[in-house]
């Protein structure tokens, strides 16, 4: 086997080993590589920053184990920011079964849990998981009480929650933040809430899914988004509170460079073999 053949067919074990080293080293000893801020992240941040007291905010927290791996970073940052704002009223909904298991822990991690408990019922309400995906989102849009059975996540009746006397459908909300979405769920909320009721919507999709959300941003159906873990790092920098997202960016950079070098090397060797007439 020639060197060229070996370079075109490196065993998986060695690729995984090099990738492991390249990811672990910057996690233990960060290099502090620069992170450029994008327009989409700035727009998202500025919108949250400029929320006026008394604004009714619909937040969706459709966390799944899979998405929490990446979007957990941006959902932590955005929820921290939202709960820092005084006077806004937040109702949190969920159409993914695992969402409730992540929400309270997220608030505890960002230090907003005490404030959430203090203002619960008057400023914040957390609704139970509603099954049915798009049909569930549509049901919540027209009548939250019927869609949830008139109780919140903790089993408290809406009659005992002052905030739920003020809102009952999508028309009562002024802005939507889909802070923890697999990406395709952003489209569900856009289809059933943002577009029919003309409500500005911001979302946090997976980086991979964000590529397919651009037509909606260009059409003005989604105002802006935080793209994956890089968006989360940018948001942390804008909040002047760098955290886990920023810490992971060096590892991301090395991982990207490693993949690029592998692909370039494979194509150079492949191309030279083709030119020289070898099979």
């Amino acid at each position: 086997m020639s060197l060229g053949d070996k370079l075109l067919d490196i065993p998986e074990f060695y690729v995984y080993l090099v990738l492991l080293v390249l990811l672990v080293v910057p996690l233990i000893k960060p290099f502090g590589l620069p992170i450029a801020l994008t327009e989409t992240s700035r727009k998202y941040f500025n919108t949250v920053e400029s929320l006026e007291p008394g604004t009714y905010v619909w937040v969706t927290h459709d966390a799944m184990s899979m998405t929490e791996l990446e979007i957990g970073l941006s959902s932590h940052a955005v929820l921290k920011h939202l709960f820092q704002k005084e006077g806004i009223k937040i109702v949190i909904g969920c159409i993914v079964g695992e969402g409730p298991m992540f929400f309270e822990q997220t608030l505890k991690d960002v230090g907003a849990y005490e404030k959430y408990l203090e203002g619960y019922g008057t400023k914040y309400v957390y609704l139970p998981f509603v099954a049915g995906d798009e049909a569930a989102a549509a049901a919540l849009a027209t009548n939250i009480e019927k869609a949830t059975g008139g109780v919140d996540y903790y089993g408290t009746k809406f009659e005992d929650l002052p905030l739920m006397q003020e809102v009952n459908n999508a028309e009562d909300f002024e802005i939507i933040f889909c802070v923890d979405e697999p990406g395709w769920n952003s489209v569900i909320w856009m289809n059933q809430w943002a577009v029919p009721y003309n409500i500005p919507m911001y979302c946090n999709p997976l980086a991979g899914v964000s590529a397919s959300l651009w037509p909606y941003i260009e059409a003005g159906q989604i105002q802006s988004m935080l793209v994956g873990s890089k968006g989360a790092a940018e948001y942390e920098l804008l909040m002047k509170a760098p955290g886990r997202a920023v810490a992971g960016m060096d590892a991301q950079s090395l991982g990207h460079i490693f993949l690029l070098l592998l692909v370039l090397m494979a194509n150079i060797v492949y191309g030279s073999k083709k030119v020289s007439g070898e099979k």
Binding site: L8, D9, I10, E12, V15, Y16, L19, L33, P34, I35, A36, T38, E39, M64, S65, M66, E68, L69, G97, P100, M101, V130, A131, G132, D133, A135, A136, A138, A139, T142, N143, K146, A147, G149, Y154, P196, A207, A211, S212, W214, P215, I217, E218, V227, K230, M249, D250, Q252, S253, G255, H256, I257, F258, L259, L260, L262, V263, A266, N267, Y270
Partner: protein, 209 residues
């Protein structure tokens, strides 16, 4: 009678419900009509709740057979699977989903496994891209060039290597990628609307298998 009850009535239910919900979205309707459609949507939530439970019975059927037949190299895994399933159901229904026991099971049994299985994709994708992305044709070469600019534009260090990478990425995502994705969505949506119209006129076999 048999065909009426087994086929025609379910199809009629599908057609009537479809038309009722379709009209509700596009036309101004009386409040009673809206109340009825709200109830239909809440009914769907309950039925979806029942559908979520189907997995348990499916598993009991399949793994119950493995246990009863003592399938070699499998039956003890099936026993463990049913034990874990029962633990979740008993703690969840018995103590509630806010109980520490249920949260412990979720955070230390479900969550790490689910997350790690998805993270396997990360390892595999790196190797798969290395093996698959060879410029065998002009089209593959084109795709590799686009991939290169997207990767470098998105990498946190890309801007530090060359300031042009983020600008090229922004142009790519707002112009060609957005246009091509939109074209794909238009075609896909017209197909989905055609399928939906088939539901409205009762010409679909979905739900009857």
């Amino acid at each position: 009678m048999s065909q009426l009850v087994r086929r025609q009535i379910p199809i009629a239910i599908m057609v009537i419900l479809g038309i009722v919900l379709f009209v509700d979205f596009f036309f101004k309707v009386p409040e009673t009509y809206v109340a009825i459609t709200d109830e239909i949507k809440s009914f769907n939530i309950v039925v979806a709740g029942f559908a979520l439970g189907l997995g348990v019975f499916n598993i009991l059927e399949i793994h119950g057979k493995h246990i009863s037949k003592r399938t070699p190299e499998q039956w003890y895994y099936s026993v463990w699977l049913i034990i874990v399933m029962a633990a979740f159901i008993i703690t969840g229904l018995g103590f509630g989903i806010q109980a520490e026991s249920f949260k412990f099971l979720y955070q230390n049994f479900f969550m790490p496994l689910d997350m790690t299985i998805y993270s396997l994709i990360g390892w595999l994708v790196i190797y798969a891209i290395y093996i698959a992305f060879r410029a065998r044709t002009v089209e593959t070469l084109f795709m590799i060039v686009i991939f290169f600019f997207a990767l470098m534009g998105n990498a946190p260090v890309g801007a530090a290597i060359w300031t042009g990478f983020p600008d090229i990425r922004v142009w790519m995502e707002t112009v060609p990628n957005s246009a091509a994705t939109r074209g794909y969505y238009l075609a896909q949506s017209i197909g989905a609307i055609a399928m939906g119209l088939r539901t409205l006129v009762g010409k679909t076999r979905a739900g009857l298998e």
